[in-house]
């Protein structure tokens, strides 16, 4: 009796561990930046190199920072979702154009629509590194105190918006 109970027990434990492992996504690396102030930056705008944007401009507002690039195929999948979200006016979306060519980025927005209040132009990807960007698109929700509350890696789906982003933004807008 006990002879075959042992291997069965070991099998079950292994199966549980591996089963849990299967549900995890190794691409989603938990960001150490959540709960920390958004890293400082000051970048020229994509559309107007003469003007700059810094994350400090948005203190006191709940906002979203979306990292995108014209060379990023997944950004196109995500784009309509952002356009819809921007239209709803629930939250201002700011873009971080990551390691792109200026004309390409501008043309891309012209073609697919521009959901962004503005896009900052991170030509060298330095600000991206400060934000721990490793796979575009990535999206951050930043609260009124300038603290990163949420990071989404990869394409934001309508479901993510409905189940994660909107409730979080409602909650963040409540506390002053």
């Amino acid at each position: 009796m006990r002879r075959w109970l042992w291997p069965l027990g070991i099998f079950l434990v292994l199966a549980v561990f591996l089963g849990v492992g299967l549900t995890l996504n190794p691409r989603e690396v938990p960001s150490p930046l959540i709960g920390k102030p958004a890293p400082q930056f000051e970048l020229p705008l994509l559309h107007d190199a003469g003007k700059t944007f810094t994350q400090k401009d948005l203190l006191g507002k709940v906002w979203m920072l979306n990292v995108w690039a014209s060379w990023c195929a997944a950004c196109r999948d995500e784009h309509p979702v952002l356009v819809d979200l921007a239209k709803s006016g629930v939250v201002p979306i700011y873009g971080l154009n990551y390691k792109d060519k200026r004309p390409d980025g501008v043309a891309w927005l012209k073609r697919f629509g521009d959901p962004y209040v503005l896009s900052a132009y991170d030509e060298k990807g330095r600000v991206g590194i400060d934000y721990g960007v490793y796979g575009v698109p990535e999206t951050y929700v930043i609260d009124k105190q300038g603290v990163i509350r949420y990071k989404h890696i990869g394409v934001v789906t309508p479901r993510d918006v409905k189940e994660k982003i909107l409730p979080l933004i409602a909650k963040l807008n409540e506390n002053t």
């Binding site: 190794p26 590194i129 796979g135």
Partner: protein
Amino acid sequence: MKIRKHWILLIFLFYAWGAAQAVHAAQDAALERRVQQLSAELRCLVCQNQSLADSNADLALDLKNQVREQIEQGASDRQVIAFMTERYGDFVLYRPPLKATTLLLWFGPVLLFAGGLIALFMRLRRRAQTLAAPVLSAEERARAAALLGEPATRREPKLP
């Protein structure tokens, strides 16, 4: 005479310049070695089973440049590692730090090994006990001898 002096000076300068170049190259080699060593410890986040040193992904090149820049500015290895973990978390480290959440990771293999040793030891002991026990009691031996029609005095065969 004067021309020759100029020549000597020129040759001297040439060698001095060469020496300066050599020093520069040596420094660069040392720097490159440190960059290599450090980036071999850091995981490339795009291709997760490669280190920064092995990877040619765009981000890996950018991060390697970051490492190089910081070393040039006099950052210690520890500072560079801290820079990376602040942004990308412990996941970038191929050598995870010892923490409450990584205890199982660090000591799990040791525990498994110890468990295996204990199991092996117990099994060997049980086996030795069963082997040491007499295979037949005196009574059984007498019966077996009677059945086989042999004298009971015959010695018990040695076990292999």
